[in-house]
Symmetry: C2
Subunit: 254 residues, 2 copies
């Protein structure tokens, strides 16, 4: 009965669905996702979710063992949003579509990324998503070991690209926040001076970085990130195609 840091996972524990009461797991998870979308990880608290449902915090613990469980459920919920087109025959287009769908979902729910890095992710939607990718590659004729590597390559790229995009956007927001915060505050001009001095120093010490930052300042962050995403995706798909052709030359021919 000793409750460790986080024993197991929601999915590995029994859950008796309630009879006909006010609440249900699904409702709770829905509210949690809504709150997370609106106010991010910081805005989510048991009391908040409970009050949004017209209920006290303690009630939630009949449906969910801990807040971590709730987050795990919320993560799998949004993982279920990713849709794929099973009719697509070309494996490259299908894989690219899967990657794009995944990326869009992660950009839609920016909190999900953080959970992805911390939670075990053993939910049914996570598994289903993995299965679709694997099947896709298997049908395309990839060797078993290559399937794993290919799937990882694509997924890792998606996750990494979204992370860098989100963190880029955040950085810009922080910098402008600091600027207007300094302008509105009382003795803010001193603090503002510190910030700009620091940034100028950085620019002096790192000329190449300064050049690239200046160049990308004009550009829309989102479209630039998409461009980079597609570029690396193309690299990966070509690399995959190369190893695919090398291995499967005898069995299948275009």
């Amino acid at each position: 009965m000793a409750l460790t840091d986080s024993d197991g996972s929601v999915w590995l524990r029994p859950h008796r669905p309630p009879r006909d009461r006010q609440l249900s797991r699904d409702q709770i998870v829905s509210v949690a996702v809504t709150v997370l979308d609106a106010d991010g990880h910081r805005g989510l608290s048991m009391r908040r979710v409970a009050s949004e449902l017209g209920v006290t915090a303690g009630s939630l613990y009949w449906y969910v063992r801990t807040k971590d469980d709730l987050l795990e459920l919320a993560l799998d919920r949004v993982l279920g949003e990713v849709r794929t087109d099973p009719a697509e025959a070309d494996w490259r287009r299908a894989l690219a579509a899967l990657a794009r769908g995944n990326r869009e979902m992660l950009l839609r729910h920016r909190w999900a990324l953080r959970e992805l890095t911390v939670r075990p992710n053993l939910g049914p939607n996570a598994f289903a998503l993995a299965e679709t990718g694997l099947q896709l590659l298997a049908r395309a004729g990839f060797a078993d070991a290559d399937v794993d590597a290919a799937m990882s390559a694509i997924n890792d790229h998606v996750v990494g690209a979204v992370i860098s995009q989100v963190s880029w956007i955040d950085s810009l927001e922080r910098m402008s926040e600091a600027r207007i915060g300094a302008g509105a505050g009382g003795g803010g001009s001193w603090s503002e001076h510190v910030a700009t001095t620091y940034l100028r120093e950085v620019a002096d010490r790192h000329p190449m970085l300064a050049r690239r930052m200046a160049a990308t300042r004009e550009i829309d962050v989102e479209s630039e990130c998409e461009r980079r995403f597609e570029f690396a995706l193309k690299c990966l798909l070509e690399g995959l195609a190369a190893s695919h052709d090398a291995a499967g030359e005898l069995t299948r021919r275009p």
Copy 2:
């Protein structure tokens, strides 16, 4: 004076170094990194850091404005651990080495990844790291726009690969935790039954996934992850080389 969710960044705010008192920012950050390495994100609290320094929690606020600041500083601290060899002439080898060093650092400090996804990351070490990569590519003769895309591709791959590795390891730990936890507990056999039933159902519904999981069960997770990491890295480098040769054919020749 209204303290928003998180106004700005540590690096954009003034910091007056203390005269000759017991503490210093560096000490505090060092302790924070140690605690984070040992007990992860959950183990870090202001009181813990303070007591580790023989001091009360309130004292820390003379050196650090919030806990977020401390985390931002800790993140940049470990970012500074990544070393590069400026003597390496071949850009592919240099870039690969940079990526590997980055990866190893992130695996050494598994908490850093989570921070990377949430913090603005405006520290000097972060900038320096970016600059090295950019210079490397610029010296190799990449076009300006390609430099950004190439750097992003490599960095995203590193981050994504580490995330998937960490989350894989975590999942395995959770699953075995659930199993032994069930074995040790009193009426645990029921809970254990639920877990195995769930996993069996998943395996039935997702045959390809089950096959891959069974195949990788024998293998060492770390070496398998490294294999996948290197595979995608090779894909990316080859893709970069292709676009490099296409663009720079006239200006430089091997």
